[in-house]
């Protein structure tokens, strides 16, 4: 040390921990005492989590039916044939009959599932106008260009809601019927179709344009329905809290899926006698078959499922945790063996030095 604290050169650098690169620091090292316990603990924890996930997933009951209507697959094949030539096909009805030997633990959810449907295609995914959907007047009349070719109708009238996503709104409908006693009458099971969208979507992201004279229809005046829709947006439901842009089926559809096979919630079954689940008995789902999927080799399914704390049935995560956990423990043992072997060697080598 050639410098002193008293006399200081004009160009002398500061003697601080930072400038002298002496900042106090922790220098962690991947030593055996850290790594090995880490792997064993992580392994055990993962196996525990994996078991939990796996059993919760297995405990979930799921019942599904493919009603695409490929030839010879049952009731819906007639509708499926009609689907062949697209551009709104005539409405067709079919049904799915099933029976439950025991109580289907509630709450039960009714989903529809589409496969080979690329909602995540970029061109499709951008074809919407969030400003319009949030109820902005200006956007209502002037949809963004991304909506093309569903921006304006042939006559130049703005389409509301614009875009390909809205235009391809899923429009099959289902009703669930329960036959309590064999040979008895079918009673309609009440389907709760309101609480199916995210709270944030329903309350924040989607808004109807301000009512004109208390009328939603007038609010949408000067716009037209998407070409594929049979009714304008304000007639999606008679319920004023569930029509227009905040119609929950519409909101659910507009939340595009990540993968080309996806489920969307259709209804909850939680009312009346069915709050505890679906009691044993025969059931029938009446399907209004509107939505064409066979053109692109897609499939439609209807699914009844209950859920657990981790959501719907999916064994993947549980199995993945089990595998990773086991691998951790295995690696832990390998590392332990290697460590013991090489530790001796290193010690010897050092002794020789």
């Amino acid at each position: 040390m050639t410098w002193s604290a008293t006399a200081r050169g004009a160009h002398q650098p500061d003697n601080t921990a930072f400038t002298q690169q002496r900042l106090p620091a922790w220098q962690p090292l991947l030593s055996a005492s850290i790594t090995l316990p880490l792997f064993f603990c992580a392994g055990l924890a993962f196996i525990g989590l994996g078991l939990g996930l796996y059993y919760s997933s297995n405990a979930i009951k799921e019942l599904g039916y493919d009603y695409t209507g490929n030839p010879g697959t049952g009731d819906c094949s007639l509708c499926g044939v009609a689907d062949q030539d697209r551009a709104p096909p005539p409405s067709c009805r079919c049904a799915w009959n099933f029976s439950l030997p025991e109580l289907f633990q509630g709450p039960v959810y009714l989903y529809y599932e589409l496969t080979k449907f690329y909602q995540n295609n970029r061109r499709y995914g951008v074809s919407r106008d969030d400003a319009q959907l949030s109820g902005l007047q200006s956007a209502l009349r002037h949809p963004v260009n991304e909506c093309f070719p569903y921006q304006f109708s042939a006559k130049g009238v703005p389409i509301a809601p614009c875009g390909a996503i809205a235009n391809s709104l899923f429009n099959d409908t289902f009703t669930l019927w329960h036959q309590r006693l064999p040979g008895g009458p079918y009673v309609e099971v009440p389907l709760d179709r309101t609480g199916i969208a995210w709270w944030t979507d329903y309350h924040i992201k989607f808004h109807n344009p301000p009512l004109v004279n208390g009328s939603l229809a007038l609010a949408f005046k000067g716009t037209t329905r998407p070409p594929n829709w049979p009714v304008p947006v304000y007639q999606l439901s008679p319920d004023p809290n569930n029509t227009g842009f905040i119609n929950q089926d519409f909101v659910v559809w507009m939340r595009t899926a990540a993968l080309p096979w996806f489920r969307k919630l259709y209804a909850r079954i939680r009312q009346g006698n069915y709050s505890a689940g679906l009691p044993r008995g025969n059931y029938r789902v009446n399907i209004t078959y509107n939505y064409p999927v066979r053109a692109f080799d897609g499939h439609k399914r209807i699914i009844l499922s209950n859920i657990s704390w981790m959501g719907g049935k999916n064994p993947f995560l549980g199995i993945a945790y089990l595998v990773v956990g086991s691998l951790c423990i295995l690696t832990g043992f390998v590392m332990l063996v290697v460590y013991i072997r090489y530790q001796d060697q290193n010690d010897e080598a050092e002794d020789q030095e």
Partner: protein, 1090 residues
Amino acid sequence: MMWARHKMDNEVNNRTCEVIKDGRFKVTKWKEIQVGDVIRLRKNDFIPADILLLSSSEPNSLCYVETAELDGETNLKFKMALETTHQYLQKENSLATFDGFVECEEPNNRLDKFTGTLFWRNTSFSLDADKILLRGCVIRNTDFCHGLVIFAGADTKIMRNSGKTRFKRTKIDYLMNYMVYTIFVLLSLISAGLAIGHAYWEAQVGNYSWYLYDGEDSSPSYRGFLNFWGYIIVLNTMVPISLYVSVEVIRLGQSYFINWDLQMYYFEKDTPAKARTTTLNEQLGQIHYIFSDKTGTLTQNIMTFKKCCINGKIYGDHRDASQHNHSKIEQVDFSWNTYADGKLAFYDHYLIEQIQSGKEPEVRQFFFLLAICHTVMVDRIDGQLNYQAASPDEGALVSAARDFGFAFLARTQNTITISEMGTERTYTVLAILDFNSDRKRMSIIVRTPEGSIRLYCKGADTVIYERLHRMNPTKQETQDALDVFANETLRTLCLCYKEIEENEFEEWNKKFMAASVASTNRDEALDKVYEEIEKDLILLGATAIEDKLQDGVPETISKLAKADIKIWVLTGDKKETAENIGFACELLTEETTICYGEDINALLNTRIENQRNKGGVYAKLVPQVQEPFFPPGGNRALIITGSWLNEILLEKKTKTSKILKLKFPRTEEERRMRTQSKRRLEAKKEQRQKNFVDLACECSAVICCRVTPKQKAMVVDLVKRYKKAITLAIGDGANDVNMIKTAHIGVGISGQEGMQAVMSSDYSFAQFRYLQRLLLVHGRWSYIRMCKFLRYFFYKNFAFTLVHFWYSFFNGYSAQTAYEDWFITLYNVLYSSLPVLLMGLLDQDVSDKLSLRFPGLYVVGQRDLLFNYKRFFVSLLHGVLTSMILFFIPLGAYLQTVGQDGEAPSDYQSFAVTIASALVITVNFQIGLDTSYWTFVNAFSIFGSIALYFGIMFDLHSAGIHVLFPAAFKFTGTASNALRQPYIWLTIILTVAVCLLPVVAIRFLSMTIWPSESDKIQKHRKRLKAEEQWKRRPYVFRRGMSSRRSAYAFSHQRGYADLISTGRSIRKKRSPLDAIIADGTAEYRRTVES
């Protein structure tokens, strides 16, 4: 960096000197000096241009200059003006009207040659290098001088020698560029592949999916083509554009750390280290070869009288007046001697005792000899004696004699006045037998006031011992003493004398006169005559002079050698001095086998022969097996001279004449022949150069002496070219500028007077020893930091970007991004940049002390172990695998899932948030794993980045911002809905764990199985810290083993004997004898010379 250079240039450009303008001398800036100006320079001024000396304040218009900046030689040189200009151009008005016309050679780089003619007053005078003062030299011992500017600015010889300024870039820069190109290629390939995929998908699926109808009937291949560009845009984050900026930021930070380092700050001169180029730092960790200047860099350019051997006894150890050794003893007090300059640090009180008591007459005679036998000139300034010596060694000896009571007071053309222990005596000089490099000795014959004639002689031991009288009792003891001195790398001289009979002298003097006037081979004749009188000498003793090294040079060199760095010393000084310094700084040791240039000629020639025989015409096609020149093992050093280098490398001289003969090729055939022979010559030259470099690099040390600045640069360039190794040149003077510019990294020693070296350097500091800290600590750290940074950067971008690639297989190759747009924008800026930047700035695997203690740690950089193509691809692979994990685990988790409340979280936006969260956590934890030096800032930045990510995400997904900008922020509510689900958190945790645990396992295993040097040291950090400060190996003194003899203390030039005997340098007022040319010798000499 450029700013620093600009500032320096500015400083030099604005230095001032006096120029005649409108008939008067006016202070002018250097930059305004033009060819043809007449300028006045004062003592200790730097010479601003190459100028013709017109006149000076000294007799005969002599002018002394120090050329250390130019050639590294430390002795003063004298220049002399033309007789006419000396006579007529002393006054300002005469200078102002000076109207001479100079015709001279073109500007060139030869420092020792100048040809030109001055036409003035209808007479022409020929001009040579003796009349030219070169830019870069310093005026010494001359009050003022006047000169005519011949070459200015870039035409000056020094600038011609300084080479081109190159824009330097590091090895990693080049590598990085190639890697970025590689990534570009990868990007295009991936995009093309995905575009083809899209075209295929459109044809198979898209065309049938009515819901995708977009109103345009483009063909699938056209859509594929459009998507190619789409993917170029989506995947462009693979190409690390921000890398370049970040790299520069890190380098800048590292440069500041160098500037701030107190341990490279030289307190005495208040000079901190300075990184003048901020873009080369990591290259400091990859140095293979260091090329060092000697004078001013390794040595301090101070000679001190250290020890002596008188009458067989060694003086100079630490002991008191009664010969007892003490390790700590006060310096000898010279205050009894009025002439002492008090600068000498001497610790042997016994020698003083001996001198004062006068018990041994040899002791006094010894110092008397030192005071009388030399060619030093004296000058009195304010009553103080001021010696001007041709070589610093001689100056040191005469000064030492003065301190010990024998002060050389004055000299005239044929007398010398000496104060002997207070009494002044004047001796008549009968003859000065001057030094030259063949004689290696000088003698003086004087007549004492009592009338007896004596010859005093000093010289190299080898030549003196041959000429000693048979009866010399102290011969063996002195020999032993010389060995001891040599072992301590002191430079030695033997002193002896003899009495001459009057008639013997008369006889000899006749021969001497005759030889002096010989018109042919005068020098030879003189040497012969000298030889006759210099025999049967009586040995007095030997002196030992230390060429003082800079502090810590041997330690630094040995450290650097342990770091596998080879050190070459390139000096303009002579061979013996260079070799001596080689030993002094432990570059050469007793075990080293020293090869001289002449020795290896044979080796090189055989090699050439072999190559010719083996390869013949197809030499280039045959893979060359390079067997080493030397048998393996053993420590070798090479000492070569500049002229040998020229010869062996076929520079210039040879063959040029042959080519000239073929000047005008007539036919096509001839032209072809000519180009062919030219090419062959070129190939041969290349071969020889390569062989030389191969050979030299087998030696552990190389010393090149008598090399010009140009040659210094050439040597550096050779190694650069043929070894593909990173080179560093360090020097202090203008003669080092070229090599500093040529080497990958140039280091200038700052704090000295001259600034040329510093100005062209990339790094500067005040002491050679700081080099070890610059390389072993800063260089190594910078290299490791940069490598870690780059590896991580490539990894991080690949892990981030390739998720799009995997996703494209599930979205019809439609260029859909896997993240929110805002996340893509902010990822590189906010979420992953700060921790890696901080690691690049602050990381250190082992502390500076340990880095210095274990120089072996340095080799990682030299061998490019931490960043190369393999490491690059491993990083990419790591990134690719991470991106796969990041995509496929969430994919599995999202296969059919529905949320905890039954609502579907398998939507695109939740998926994007899940992957993004896992990615941010993974890359930030990964940098945590990579960081080996966790300061609070690192910890803060890592956890801060993650927190920032979540904070910003929740903000961007909030209701408030949606209300403000409903169209810009489309992810409203996603974060809160998705991250509410334990299932998604479990997915994120699993993803992060699967990304990181294998890394931990692999690191642990490789550390256990193949621990690197740094791993081992880190492991034992605590123990090492506890250990005491590393002790240097005790110095083992090997008496009598020495086989080498160190250099004698003389300049390699003739001394001033000529000047003295001709009386030219003696001021008229002091030497009335000057006019009367009493001494025949002088008269003859002068006539012959002029």
